[in-house]
């Protein structure tokens, strides 16, 4: 399905007036997401999680330098293609609710998404889609500021999935939601994966990642440390192979709530 092969991203910065230097941000990332699975990408803020998502959709800033390759179903995805998306084959659920158009009714935005994907949809189809995300058909007439954060999040999911893409990339889909609303969003992603889609779930929240993903990829300071099976995050984390993954797990408030001072160094070693 999705294959990322030795992907590196750097940013060009002016070092003085004329000379430019490259500041590395992501370094040699290799990962695969298969049909029917949720791969969670976990890492501290600033580790480069969202950069990877932006690279997939070709929406990196202009001064980004991209190396390596990304392919979907064996076909290359142009990393820096100036914003030309992959149409219906992959879709992004953006991190910020500000990606909804504040001046257009929710139903209109869903209709635009259906048109972009080139699939003919009737108003009844749209209502059915909304209903499958637990949203009333009433929502179609409302503007984004009139729905709650949790509803807006589900609307973004509906917009992303109405074109039936093969890959869904969800960037922090639960941020700002209370536990019940977050659980609902994650169950929706799980259902999409169970129906044969591939889901890349980007989050800084380990609890979220562990409870709903199949595998957890750990990103630190732009490097992919490794991928752990989600069920290895249990008890005292004995089954985790990466010291940093174990340190993250033990630092959870529900576990030992400790930070081994060497955890960070272990991650870099």
């Amino acid at each position: 399905m999705l294959a990322v092969d030795t992907l590196s991203i750097g940013f060009l910065r002016y070092d003085g007036l004329i000379h430019r230097c490259e500041v590395p941000a992501l370094d040699g990332i290799d990962l695969k997401v298969d049909r029917g699975e949720i791969l969670a990408l976990v890492g501290a803020s600033g580790a480069g999680k969202s950069l990877l998502a932006h690279a997939l959709f070709g929406i990196l800033p202009e001064n980004a330098v991209v190396r390596g390759s990304i392919s979907l179903n064996g076909e290359p995805v142009e990393a820096a293609n100036g914003g030309k998306g992959q149409g219906p084959r992959m879709a992004l659920v953006p991190q910020s609710l500000s990606h909804l158009d504040p001046l257009a009714r929710c139903g209109k935005q869903l209709l635009w998404a259906a048109k972009r994907s080139g699939k003919a949809k009737t108003m009844a189809d749209l209502a059915n889609t909304l209903e499958s995300f637990g949203l009333d058909a009433e929502v179609m007439r409302l503007y984004p500021h009139q729905v709650s954060g949790g509803m807006a999040r589900r609307l973004l999911l509906a917009i992303a999935t109405i074109g039936e893409p093969d890959l869904i990339v969800a960037d922090e889909p639960t941020s700002g939601l209370d536990p019940d609303a977050a659980e609902n969003v994650l169950l929706l992603l799980r259902r999409l994966a169970d129906r044969g889609k591939a889901v890349l779930l980007i989050t800084h929240d380990l609890v979220t990642a562990v409870s709903h993903a199949d595998r957890v990829a750990i990103l630190e300071q732009g490097r992919l440390l490794g991928i752990e099976p989600a069920n290895a995050f249990s008890d005292d984390g004995r089954r985790l192979t990466l010291p940093y993954a174990r340190a993250l797990w033990l630092a959870m408030p529900g576990n030992q709530f400790t930070s081994a001072p060497l955890a960070r160094e272990a991650a870099r070693a």
Binding site: A44, G46, S175, A181, H204, L206, L248, A251, G254, F257
Partner: protein, 205 residues
């Protein structure tokens, strides 16, 4: 001691979201505040720190109204720190706004000096959260309202920040910790309240 007495607050003509809410926060205590989205936790936090004026009731810091001008003894950490900084100032200027944090504080919170010549949008959200915390934690701060202060941080950084805050509590700082994370509040707080339908209820662990 920080007292909230009979605070009422509502937005516009809607039903008040806080209905005669009272609480007491002692020095050296971490009081956890939880409740579903939209019940008014952050609003209560903003009232306690003096950013919003209650329609009824009062806030008392050691028996008197907190200072309206100059350094307020009750400091507030906003859940989206980008809204709490001047976007046209560099971080070095922002962090020294209230006091000049010493090296020990900066290291404990994990603030890098290399950020000082950058603007707020040039560091990550989790990094900015630490800058804002360092700014608020000066020697004149008696109480801290921490609104989802570690929700944007990875678990290890979260432990580091809370270890630092718990140490400051042992030295006499009082903290009102607002969070959705029940496991976190259970870890750090000595007492918990839950906000729902406009009023506070003690949460028994």
């Amino acid at each position: 001691m920080l007292e909230v007495r009979g605070v009422e607050f509502g937005f516009g003509k809607a039903e008040p979201i806080l209905d005669r809410v009272s609480l007491t926060l002692n020095r050296g205590e971490i009081l956890g505040l939880s409740g579903p989205s939209g019940t008014g936790k952050s609003t209560l936090g903003r009232i306690v720190a003096g950013y919003l004026k209650p329609q009824q009731g009062e806030i008392l810091l050691d028996g008197a109204a907190p200072r309206a001008l100059g350094h307020c003894g009750v400091q507030h950490i906003h859940q989206s720190s980008i809204f709490a900084v001047n976007p046209r100032w560099r971080l070095g200027r922002i962090i020294a706004e209230a006091w000049q944090p010493d090296d020990q504080t900066l290291d404990a919170i994990g603030v890098s000096r290399t950020w000082f010549d950058r603007y707020p949008h040039e560091i990550s959200g989790g990094e900015l959260q630490r800058v804002v915390l360092a700014r608020a934690i000066g020697p004149k701060t008696r109480f801290l309202v921490a609104d989802e202060v570690s929700a944007m941080l990875d678990p290890i950084t979260q432990v580091e920040i809370w270890s630092f805050l718990m140490e400051r509590c042992r030295q006499g700082l009082g903290i009102l910790a607002i969070s959705h994370d029940a496991a976190l509040l259970k870890r750090v707080s000595s007492r918990q309240l839950k906000l729902g339908n406009g009023s506070l209820m003690p949460l028994v662990a």
